[in-house]
Symmetry: C2
Subunit: 247 residues, 2 copies
């Protein structure tokens, strides 16, 4: 039976999503729990994509096959009773055997949180502590240039070799927290995000907000297809995989 | 020169506010930094009050005297450059030599956050994960009975011997997060809060919300002056010292 889980995690104490020997990873923790449930037979989980060390997830998705028969409700309870307190399974669904949590992704939503106000020790692992003013109007202009279908090679991890760097971003927005105008949230909804792509977009948008670049330079960066043309990679702590949608 | 600082901290990795040998405490960290600034001469800080292990502060206040002369701005910068990343000084003020951060408190504000929705791994250290429904209307009735001047002995740590347990709570409210109706915040504004008092009030309010007690039983609890009459002590992770006001 093939299962699809929706799960959330606090990325702060993980060395990233992907399993690595002797490192605490999300995949590692989830597979250990599933093997326990699956009569100690190996279980390979396939997520919608990886997240880097320190990146959080509100609704990550993954599929896997179990040898045993167990209902969705019971599997959810069993997993949550064994998982560490920084990972939580929100939903379990039985899916067709040809469902694939990565290949079938239709679009994904990421959010990135920034605090422009004073340093806040309580949110340090959950919000980028930028702690200075930014030109939000210029950033919002650049966000509109990012929307659409573009070659995102300049915004991808430099040594990440791919056949195709073209992706579509349906929407790229910035919202302010109504209770604290210094808390900003970027939202990116798109067909796919390559390694470091959201963090490189945010790092570039910050440089635009600092006045180091004009918003129109986004077009130059796209055309150069060179990682060096874009801004720095923003820290992982402000990034959340918010949603994964399937056709 | 006497200084008053306003500071915030994430209580998650501390064994509480008050200095203890070989334990990481907020007072310990702040005094170490101040002694460094004060030419290695001992500095004793006096806070508005202690907070327990795991309790956070948004605007804690403390006073201390320094032997050296330093401006407010420079002291703030020096302290923040040396403090660990879970403590932050928001403001430094020079105050009269007879100002006292504890004795001169006029009132204090505490907030307590609860999640009635599904378990959230990302806020686990910052919001009580109650994860079930509560009768919010009955809780709100009880909050109105808590407001006013009462003997709070039943809500104080059992072995905390005091001459006087009478305190005034000016306001006790409950608000729902507009983006997530399952996130509730209690706010208590009062003349003074004894050890575990807010956590015991919240623990009792939860039992009222569970239907284990009626809201009117608050009056019986007040009259008994016995810790056993009230509900359990709520966990520290949802509690924040929000503000301290001086006359």
């Amino acid at each position: 039976m093939r299962y699809l889980i929706t799960f959330s995690y606090d990325g702060s104490s993980f060395r990233g999503y992907q399993k690595q020997p002797n490192r605490r990873t999300i995949q590692g923790e989830v597979e250990t729990v599933l093997e326990n449930i699956n009569d100690n037979k190996k279980v390979d989980i396939v997520a919608s994509g990886r997240t880097d060390a320190g990146v959080h997830a509100l609704n990550q998705k993954a599929h896997f096959d179990l040898d045993i028969k167990i209902t969705e409700d019971k599997l959810k309870k069993a997993m949550n009773s064994m998982l560490p307190d920084d990972v939580y399974v929100k939903r379990v669904e039985i899916v067709p055997n040809d469902f694939h949590a990565r290949y079938d992704v239709s679009c994904k939503e990421y959010v990135y949180k920034i605090n422009l106000g004073e340093y806040d020790p309580i949110s340090k692992d959950y919000v980028l502590q930028y702690n200075k003013k930014l030109d939000v109007v210029e950033i919002e202009r650049a966000l509109k240039y990012i929307e659409g279908t573009h070659d995102f090679k300049s915004f991808t991890k430099a040594d990440d070799e791919k056949d195709n760097y073209v992706r579509t971003i349906f929407s790229a927005n910035l919202t302010r927290d109504i209770k604290n105008v210094n808390f900003l949230t970027f939202t990116f909804l798109g067909t796919g995000f390559m390694r470091y792509m959201v963090r490189n977009l945010v790092g570039t948008l910050i440089e635009i907000g600092e006045g180091k670049m004009k918003s129109e330079e986004i077009f130059t960066i796209f055309s150069k297809k060179d990682r060096k043309a874009a801004g720095k990679t923003a820290a992982p702590n402000g990034l959340y995989l918010k949603d994964v949608f399937y056709r």
